[in-house]
Symmetry: C2
Subunit: 200 residues, 2 copies
DNA sequence: GTCTATACTTTGATAGAC
DNA sequence: GTCTATCAAAGTATAGAC
């Protein structure tokens, strides 16, 4: 009973709480749209704590959030794919599950780093690199699964890039239109591309 | 010679100059990342002019820029497609041309409304609707061309959604990685999807 | 390590002279 | 319709007590 329920809102230490809160705000409002005052308010943390844990300020916090959220989203999707009986079903479940989550969260919970990636692409080189590394990690992970399904390495990588491209593009149209039409269309094309590669 | 070279930087009236400048800034830095002071500075316009032409402030300016830039980009891509001998070549030219432009502009000139669309999707309902209308216009225009190529209406629309999804998604990965790999992979999948639909 | 108070800058927006 | 001056609020960041 030495543990005290200091922070009612979320579990974990102050640093983790700041990271999780920032990730949530980034997904909704993007990098420039998220203020540090809002971060500490939502994380129930004192302002000074932020600069204690992230002496590099908003940029350091942003970098850690991008890598952390990127890795977590990778694990999430990889789990869905690996739970399916085969790779085609895994891709189908990925797009179908993404559509479900979007509907259930009022079209908020899409890719956690996409908005930030576009915002920083031409304005913040360190953060741009962070997003590039996350996407590269996803591509490598997806390509490995396609290779395991019998597709040769170059085709597996190209297919991985195309699938992730379809998912990211569908998130843009889905969030703008508040429909899952793009995820359905993208999922169909994705499955067709995988089946074609498997036959080759 | 009654015309005086009042503004050295760009052609057109003050309002048009503000619209063009804002569109350029939105593409690079997004909506929240673009300040109105930077807009008037780059447009070589006095600050008061902005609120004279856009009494609704940043939101009204944003809405007009989204619709204007969206329509211009539509005309640009439609021109590329219609200049090609057939629809497959048109799609190939679209993805190839987009890759060329990205390389030539240091990965800045991608979709003019994509960053803004993600930023406002869950934070600014009027602007979210503006982006949704632009995407819908693109989908309708692309679907009409697929129908003209002999694809039935439902399939043409689904194909249009998928192609635009591929383009938007490729822009995200391309700008983040500063490579055109995603545009190449997306273009290949896009062409395959069109060819499949044409055979059906 | 926690927390408060504050410094400094930039933001969107307005008023009013011309 | 142009332009300057200015406002209140929010932005990031820092200092220093505890």
């Amino acid at each position: 009973m030495t543990e005290s329920p200091a922070r009612p809102t979320k579990a974990g230490g102050t640093k983790e709480r700041i990271l999780d809160t920032t990730a949530e705000l980034f997904r909704r409002y993007g990098y420039t749209g998220t203020g540090l005052k809002q971060v500490v308010a939502d994380a129930n943390a004192p302002f000074g704590s932020l600069y204690h844990h992230f002496p590099g300020g908003k940029q350091q916090l942003g970098g850690e959030v991008i890598r952390r959220a990127g890795a977590m989203y990778y694990e999430l999707v990889a789990g869905v794919i690996d739970a399916a009986p085969d790779i085609v079903a895994g891709i189908r479940d990925t797009f179908g599950g993404a559509a479900e989550v979007l509907r259930a969260t009022d079209y908020v919970d899409a890719c956690p780093i996409e908005t930030v990636a576009l915002e920083v692409a031409s304005s913040n080189e360190p953060l741009r690199q962070a997003t590039a590394e996350v996407f590269e990690q996803w591509i490598t992970g997806a390509a490995a699964r396609f290779e395991a399904a019998g597709i040769d390495a170059p085709a597996a990588r190209e297919l991985a890039v195309a699938i992730i491209t379809l998912l990211e593009g569908a998130f843009v149209l889905a969030r703008a239109s508040r429909t899952t039409e793009a995820l359905d269309a993208a999922g169909a094309v994705a499955i067709a591309a995988v089946e074609t590669a498997l036959r080759a």
